[in-house]
């Protein structure tokens, strides 16, 4: 049996992520865990995150999970979600905190000056709701998902990768920002597939079947 570990470092509720994966992979074992040994033994790893990135980094280290996350990100199918995507980068403007540094680049906030819609109205922050995700290149996790499909977002910061080749998806909100990144065994998104109805379930299902 395949085991999927969802890394729990005490930041927010992971029940939704677990339930959505159970829904698309009833034959798999889904473990919400803060045990590095369970993460190390899992076949696939999901790295979610909610709240503020400085809190997420602190809680991750308090639980001694950093080595397990780095090891998983280097070796097995790995899905980052929301702050779990942002933490893969070098640094965040949010609290000026260092991330895990797996990818080169920064996490930046939506700038007030950019928050103007096509009709001139102010765009709200957090960016909250269903927005289009434009796929940058073919990837196994996009299989069966139309280009420009809508996913559910809720965030005020986004990643700005230093290497353009990392960009797997882009989304427009005042600026065109990176809403997904991919490299080798890692795929990470800013939106919430577990809250994105059929499109989100399809992406999770693709992840479960993905052989990088």
């Amino acid at each position: 049996m395949t085991t999927v570990a969802i890394i729990d470092y005490g930041m927010g509720n992971l029940r939704s992520v677990a339930k959505a994966i159970e829904h698309v992979a009833p034959e798999h074992r889904i473990e919400v865990t803060s045990d590095p040994a369970v993460v190390a033994a899992a076949d696939r790893v999901v790295f979610p995150g909610q709240g503020a990135m400085p809190d997420c980094m602190r809680e991750l280290d308090l639980r001694g999970l950093r080595p397990a996350v780095l090891e998983a990100a280097a070796s097995k199918p790995f899905l980052g979600i929301c702050i779990g995507q942002q933490m893969l980068f070098e640094n965040s403007e949010e609290g000026d905190v260092p991330g895990l540094g797996i990818f080169r680049g920064e996490v930046v906030r939506f700038r007030d000056a950019d928050m103007v819609g096509v009709d001139g109205a102010r765009l709200k922050v957090p960016h909250m709701g269903w927005n289009e995700v434009w796929q940058n290149s073919a990837h196994a996790l996009w299989e069966g998902i139309p280009d420009g499909e809508r996913f559910y977002f809720v965030h005020s910061y986004y990643v700005a990768p230093a290497e353009p080749a990392l960009v797997a998806a882009r989304t427009d909100y005042g600026v065109r920002f990176t809403s997904g990144v991919a490299r080798a065994n890692i795929f990470a998104v800013q939106f919430h597939p577990e809250k994105s109805a059929q499109a989100g379930l399809r992406l999770l299902s693709n992840f479960i079947r993905w052989t990088p």
């Binding site: 509720n13 029940r15 957090p126 709701g129 269903w130 927005n131 559910y152 809250k195």
Partner: protein, 252 residues
């Protein structure tokens, strides 16, 4: 582009949907799970549950409702009604809610908005504001179903809860609630223009056109309605088709 959201709202008491939901072929009109699934199929962007349970003994039942719905419906869920403390917020989030809405408790103790958003993140905290017009271009915040005037100016209160860490505002016109004559567009626009966080318009929807106006004239980021959808009068999909025909960005 970001889509404007349509949010059906369900009143729940002791684990059952009340005020009736009249869908064709619904086996159990009071079952929150079945109704939530139906709205999800229609393309609802989120679902809001308002817990109106009167007896404090039955208050924890809403947690089981949220758990059951979250196991089968994969769109954002907001829960409000009787939320007083950070602990109430945590328990609802742990049960599977994505956002929790705070109303009276925020007025009585604004610190709870700050404490809750610091603990769980602004994105999880909605502050519900019930407002009534008291003079031309002036609205005040009311509690207890519109009976109790807090004396707070609605626009100033919206800005204050934003500063305290609210991630979104659920704005209900108590003058319009239940009237079916449309949103208070002046109120909606005034609040939406005064804050940088998203505003959900609520209260008064009687036609699909009203939903559209809430977004276009009211500049709301999302619109919430109950009866127009519950009685099978209109589907969420119909509402979105009309909004799209008016040039509003929706998820269809």
């Amino acid at each position: 582009m970001l889509a404007k959201r349509i949010i059906p709202c369900l009143d729940v008491s002791a684990g059952r949907v009340v005020k009736g939901v009249n869908f064709v072929e619904l086996r159990d009109a009071g079952d929150p799970v079945e109704i939530a699934k139906r709205y999800d199929e229609q393309g609802a962007d989120e679902i809001t549950f308002l817990d109106i349970t009167a007896s404090s003994d039955d208050r924890d039942i809403i947690l089981h409702v949220v758990e059951q719905v979250a196991e089968q419906v994969f769109i954002p869920l907001t829960v409000g009604g009787g939320v007083r403390t950070v602990d109430d917020v945590r328990r609802l989030l742990n049960a599977g809610a994505d956002k929790v809405s705070i109303n009276t408790a925020a007025v009585n103790n604004p610190q709870v908005v700050y404490d809750a958003s610091s603990k769980v993140g602004s994105q999880c905290i909605v502050v519900a504001i019930d407002a009534k017009q008291t003079a031309p271009g002036k609205w005040q915040v009311f509690t207890h179903g519109g009976r109790n005037n807090t004396g707070l100016d609605a626009i100033e209160w919206a800005q204050r809860v934003e500063a305290l860490g609210a991630g979104e505002i659920l704005l209900t016109s108590m003058d319009r609630d239940g009237t079916k004559i449309g949103f208070d567009l002046g109120l909606t626009r005034a609040v939406s223009d005064a804050v940088r966080i998203p505003v959900i318009a609520s209260g008064g929807v009687g036609t699909l056109e009203h939903l559209s106006e809430g977004v276009s004239t009211g500049r709301a980021d999302a619109v919430l309605a109950a009866s127009i959808f519950h009685f099978g009068q209109h589907t969420v999909r119909e509402a979105k088709e009309l909004m799209r025909a008016h040039g509003i960005e929706v998820r269809l």
